[in-house]
Structures are given as C-alpha cells and as structure tokens.
C-alpha cells in the first residue's frame, strides 16, 4: 500500500471524490493537503515562478506540503475533459498543461509524480484508459482497476447529484466521505440571492478569497455557483456568444454567469478572479458587458492575490450588498 498525495487546490474541487474512491478501492491510502494556510501560501510564493498567478503558487505550496509525507503526488496533466468549443478544442489554461513540468522543476526532493495525461475529448473510454495507466503505475491488475473505476464513477455521480441540489463541493464532499447525513445548512430566511461565479479553486478555497462564501452566508445571502448547474443548462448559453472560451473552467464560469443573469430572483453576480489571470482578462470584461446588456444585473468583480485581506473584501462585499438592497427597495 502506498500513500498518494492529492493537493487540495485547482481541480481538486471537481475530481477529488472520483480519484479518492478510485485509489482507495485499489487499496491505496489517500493523503490530502490541509485547507490552504498562510504557511502553504508562503512556500508556494517562494518556490513558484514569480509571474505565476496565485492559484498556481498555492498548488506549489500544497505539493511541497505533501512532498515528504507520501510516496506519490497525484498531479495529472489536464488537457481536456470533453469535446466542446467552436472547434472542439476546449482545453485548460496553459499553466494546467505545463503544471507537472513546472512543479517538478520548481520543487526539490519530490516523490514520484503521477502526471498521467487526461485528454477525454477523444472518446468515451478515455477516462477508463487514464485510470488503467494510473493503476498500472501502482502495479494493479486490470480487473481491480475496472472494479475501482466503476466504484469511482458511482461516487462521482452521487457527488454531482449533490451539487445539483445546491450544495457546494466542500459540503458535498463532507456528506459523501464524512458520513454527515447533512444537516441542511441552517437556512434562515434568505435576504438576497447572489450567483458567485469563477474558478472552483478561487470560489471554494476559503483562504484565497478571505472566506467570502461564509461572509455572504452571514449576511443572509443565498449563494449559487456555476457548479450547481447541469452541463445541459450551461451549454445552452454557448450559442449566445460569438465564440466560446478555450478553457474548460472559463466556459463554465461564463455560461453559469450568463445563465444566472437571466434567472429570475438572482439579485447580483459576483465574479471572483485571481490577480493577473490570463483567461479572466477576457472573461471578466465579457461578463461585465453582458451583465449590462442582457439584464442590467449588478455585477461585482473581486480580484484576489497573495495580499488579499479580509477587511478589503468585506468592505467591497458589504457595499455591494447595500447597493443591492437599496436597488430592491426602490423598485
């Protein structure tokens, strides 16, 4: 039995239930890095190339945290997860494409890295093939891998169902793995409904965005994110744009935001973005313009970086909420 480390950032928020189940069904132990802390961020900022965005730096920090505690680091090279986009070439941000190489060259004393290439646009069986290759690296047999794959798919399906029931990935994972028969979160009366869109690693990592989700909850805001929408709902928005984005996460954020713009009862949209994020330079302005053109829905963009402080975010969010309430009461 070997220990496999999975960094708790980037694609963690979408693929963790699948891979945790898969590895454990193969009899491996999965070690997750803790939620981001100041120390993890500092290591990441120190080790990663200085021009990288904060999520990439955090990833370096998480890997460094795991380095001496595990036998393998799970850092797949995410190339595509579906055939989508105007030319069917939807992929991930170039930093995701180069991530295993960046990590390997930036950090010393790393255990073996499982950097299997995940390119699912080619066909339905691709994911199983990826699993087979990962399983072989760990010295597992074909039948075991198939069994584990099936189990993982099942858990992944349950995970997605929970998301569609408006749980955040963090809540859904707690329900699946910690056996918390959830407690529907204390839904006191809802004052406002806000869609929070952006990349999963920016929205759900409470350290990087200074706990914005909690802050909203305290303000009696019901939060929706793009991950609570089905692919079908989201992809309907693709046709309303001159050209889709090239990046999976960006498309989800854009489609999700466009969907919520037309959704009745949504009072405002908050876009969380990382400082100097390349794709978001397009995404953010696009959403800003579209939110005005489509429904005149209030739109707030929050850029986070390694210097983000809680007070700054709180001030901006409170001002936004005040504005929304004022707008509603006037209507």
């Amino acid at each position: 039995m070997s220990k496999i480390g999975i960094p708790r950032t980037l694609a963690y928020f979408i693929y963790f239930p699948f891979w945790k189940t898969f590895f454990e069904a193969l009899g491996q132990e999965v070690v997750v890095s803790p939620p981001t802390t100041r120390e993890i961020m500092d290591i990441g900022v120190r080790e990663a190339v200085n021009d990288a965005c904060i999520p990439i730096k955090l990833y370096h920090g998480h890997v460094a945290y795991l380095a001496d505690k595990v036998d393998y680091i799970f850092c797949p090279r995410l190339v595509s997860v579906r055939k989508h986009g105007d030319f069917g070439t939807e992929t991930f941000c170039p930093k995701f494409l180069g991530l295993p190489d960046m990590v390997r060259l930036a950090l010393n004393n790393l255990p073996e890295i499982i950097d299997e290439r995940v390119d699912l646009k080619k066909g339905k069986d691709e994911l199983l093939k990826v699993c087979a290759r990962v399983g072989e690296t760990l010295g597992q047999s074909g039948t075991e891998i198939k069994r584990a794959f099936k189990q993982a798919m099942k858990v992944d399906g349950r995970f997605k169902q929970l998301l569609y029931q408006n749980y955040t990935p963090v809540e859904a994972m707690a329900m699946i793995f910690d056996q918390q028969e959830h407690i529907p979160p204390p839904r006191q009366e809802t004052d406002l409904k806000i869609a929070v869109v952006g990349y999963p690693y920016a929205i759900y990592d409470a350290y990087i965005n200074a706990g914005i989700l909690k802050l909203l909850q305290k303000e009696k805001v019901r939060v929706y994110t793009q991950d609570m929408l089905s692919d079908k709902t989201m992809n309907r928005q693709a046709r309303t744009l001159p050209k889709s984005m090239f990046w999976y996460f960006s498309n989800r954020a854009v489609y999700g935001a466009l969907h919520f713009m037309q959704e009745k009862g949504i009072d405002g949209i908050i876009h969380i973005t990382a400082f100097a994020c390349g794709p978001d330079s397009i995404v953010d302005r696009l959403l800003e313009i579209e939110s005005r053109r489509r429904n005149h829905i209030p739109y707030l963009a929050i850029a986070v970086d390694e210097h983000t402080g809680e007070a700054g975010i709180r001030t901006r969010v409170e001002a936004f909420l005040d504005m929304l309430r004022f707008r509603r009461d006037k209507a």
Binding site: R77, F87, T91, K243, F246, L286
Partner: protein, 368 residues
C-alpha cells in the same frame, strides 16, 4: 470599404499593398506610439496583455481615420490571442466606433468559414478569382522580401562603423519594396536593398556576441512593443537571431528551422505541446540556440502571458543544464526604454565577461 489591420513590424508594407490591390481603401495602421498604448490601456481590461492593448489602441486610431473593417487573425487557443477579436469587437461596439472586426480562424479548424470570408473580401473588392490569387501571391513574395532584408540587417548591424547606417539603409530598402508592384520589381528591389546594406562601411574584424531572441510573437515582431530591442542590441555590437518571422516556416536557413520539429526538441523539459502561443517554441528554441553556440538568449513576453510564464518557469533548468544564460523581459505599459536598455547592457557585459573567461580557462565548467 475602408480596411485596416494590426500593425506588426514591417509587414504593414505588404498588407497595405494587399488591401489596395484587392480593390479596397487601406487605412494604414500607424506604428504603435505612446498615444496608441494610452488609448488601449484606457479601454482594455486591466490584465489583458500588451498586444491586446496595443491592438485596441491601433484600432481606435484607425477608427478615427475612418476605417470600417479590421482584418485580423483568430485562433484555436489555449492562448487568449484567439479571443482578441471577440473582445475587441465588444469594446469597439461599446465605444460606438462602428468598426467590424473580421477574423480569419485557422483554416484547419474551420475551412468553410475561412473560405467564406475570403470570398466576401474578394467580392466586395470586385476581383476575379484569378486576379485575387495573383494578388495574394505577390503579397506573400513581398512579405518574404521584407523578412529577408530585415534578417540581413540584423546580421550586419553589429559590424557597422557609423552607428545608425544599417537602420537608415534598411528603411531605404523597405521604401523600395514598398513601391514594387510585381514579382520582378520585388526581386529587383530586394537585390537593391541587400546591396545598399552591403555597401555600409563595416569592420569585419569584430567578433560580435550572438544572442537569440525568443518569446511571444507580437512583442518579438513589433519593434515598437519591444523598444527596438534588435536595433538596440545590434548597436551594442551584438548579433541577434530572431526565432519568429512571418515567413519562417518556409525557410531553411534559420537556426530554428534546421532541426525539424521544435516540439520534440522541447519534449524532455515540457511533455505537452502545444500549450498555446509560442510557449513550447521558447523552450525548444533555447535548447537549439544553446546547441548552436549562442552566447545567450533573451526571452520577450507580455506581462501575464500564460504560455511564456510556463516557459519561464522551465527555462532556468535549461539554462543550468546547457550553460546558456537567459534574460527574460516581461513587457507591459510601464516598461520604459531606459529600463530595457540598462538590463540589456548588463546582460551583454555579463556575456562578454563570460566569453573572455571561457577563452582563458579552457576547461572551466561554467555555472551560469
């Protein structure tokens, strides 16, 4: 129709000819200036890269002069340049310029759309298919000739005795190419231009340092964006080889094309290709420059350019393994000419010392 296009190095000479000979009116894009950049920065998203901002500024400038249509390129990603035209169109609409951006997507991705746009541009200009193809051919010859003289100028500039001679002759050569109207005239203008450059008084006893220029296409090709880095280095007495020319893939005589597939060269350091833009190329090209005995490499990239950040994170390892110093310059609207010059001078000094040291200590293993 009044047509304009992005300004990228000296290629505007050929594209101007193309637009005019397709039966349209050409609004020549001005060389990007402080004003261009200011305009672009004012309306562009904050974190857009500098090519985006310069192009937006250029479009706003040509809009003032009455341009109706902008011809540009699309892309299939994952570099965001493929989405420029979308965002430019949004912003130009917001500013009520009335400009339409027509982007040619890669024909391999969408051949139908590509041909449709070509057809449209031909019909509105009123050209027969035969004449249209002929015009395209001559334009291509022109671009090749422009690249040729420019390439040659970078080769001889470090030998010039009177500073500025080469650049002045280059301009005269380009002027001659500008007025050439058919293949014969282009050929003659090219010959004349090369001759002009050859006649410059030179000191052939010099042994200039050799530096490879790699990076993102726009800041590499547009001298106004990279603060005329090749001229600057040439006048410091450095021979530069640029990895990107518009016509590079048809050439056999450039270092970068000698080795075949650049992606396989880069493979030991980056196992994925392409990653958008010229990210993988930058890695492969650095390896090639090291192999061909260059003294150093300068990486040019816009601030926050995603593929080049990936490349930058990998370059130190290549630098260490192959003993080739790399200077990365990230360019944004805050970059000043003096800053670039200071850093280049320091880099060149370092390379000089390094070369001397290597010459005196034959067996020394140099750590960069």
């Amino acid at each position: 129709m009044k047509i304009s296009f992005p300004h990228m190095g000296y290629s505007y000479i050929a594209f101007k000819w193309l637009v005019e000979n397709m039966g349209h009116e050409c609004i020549i894009p001005p060389e990007p200036s402080k004003k261009t950049l200011d305009l672009g920065v004012r309306y562009a998203p904050e974190f857009a890269c500098i090519p985006f901002k310069m192009l937006l500024g250029t479009y706003l400038e040509v809009a003032e002069k009455g341009a109706e249509v902008i011809l540009t390129s699309g892309g299939m990603g994952p570099c965001r340049a493929g989405l420029y035209w979308v965002m430019h169109q949004y912003l130009l609409d917001e500013l009520n310029t009335g400009i339409k951006v027509v982007a040619f997507e890669p024909p391999l991705c969408d051949l139908r759309d590509f041909l449709k746009k070509l057809h449209w541009i031909r019909k509105t200009g009123g050209l027969s298919l035969k004449a249209f193809i002929q015009v395209l051919r001559i334009t291509w010859e022109k671009i090749k000739a422009i690249d040729e003289v420019e390439m040659y100028s970078h080769e001889i500039r470090p030998y010039e005795i009177n500073r500025g001679d080469t650049t002045r002759s280059l301009w005269r050569a380009l002027d001659m190419l500008d007025v050439a109207n058919n293949e014969m005239e282009i050929k003659m203008a090219l010959q004349e231009g090369i001759k002009l450059l050859q006649q410059i008084p030179q000191d052939k006893s010099r042994n200039p340092l050799k530096i490879g220029i790699i990076g993102e296409i726009y800041v590499v090709l547009e001298p106004a964006a990279n603060h005329y880095i090749q001229i600057m280095l040439g006048e410091m007495g450095v021979q530069t080889d640029r990895s990107i020319y518009l016509t590079a893939y048809t050439r056999k005589n450039t270092i970068v094309n000698l080795e075949g597939d650049i992606f396989s060269v880069a493979k030991p350091y980056l196992a994925e290709a392409p990653i958008g833009g010229h990210g993988v190329n930058s890695i492969g090209e650095t390896l090639l420059y090291a192999k061909h005995g260059f003294d150093g490499v300068v990486q040019l990239a816009p601030f926050a350019c995603i593929p080049e950040i990936v490349a930058k994170s990998i370059l130190p390892a290549i630098s260490r393994d192959h003993g080739i110093p790399v200077l990365t310059l990230f360019i944004d609207e805050q970059t000043g000419k003096a800053g670039v010059q200071t850093r280049l001078e320091a880099f060149v000094d370092l390379l000089e010392k390094r070369r001397q040291y290597k010459a005196t200590h034959k067996n020394a293993r140099l750590v960069v």
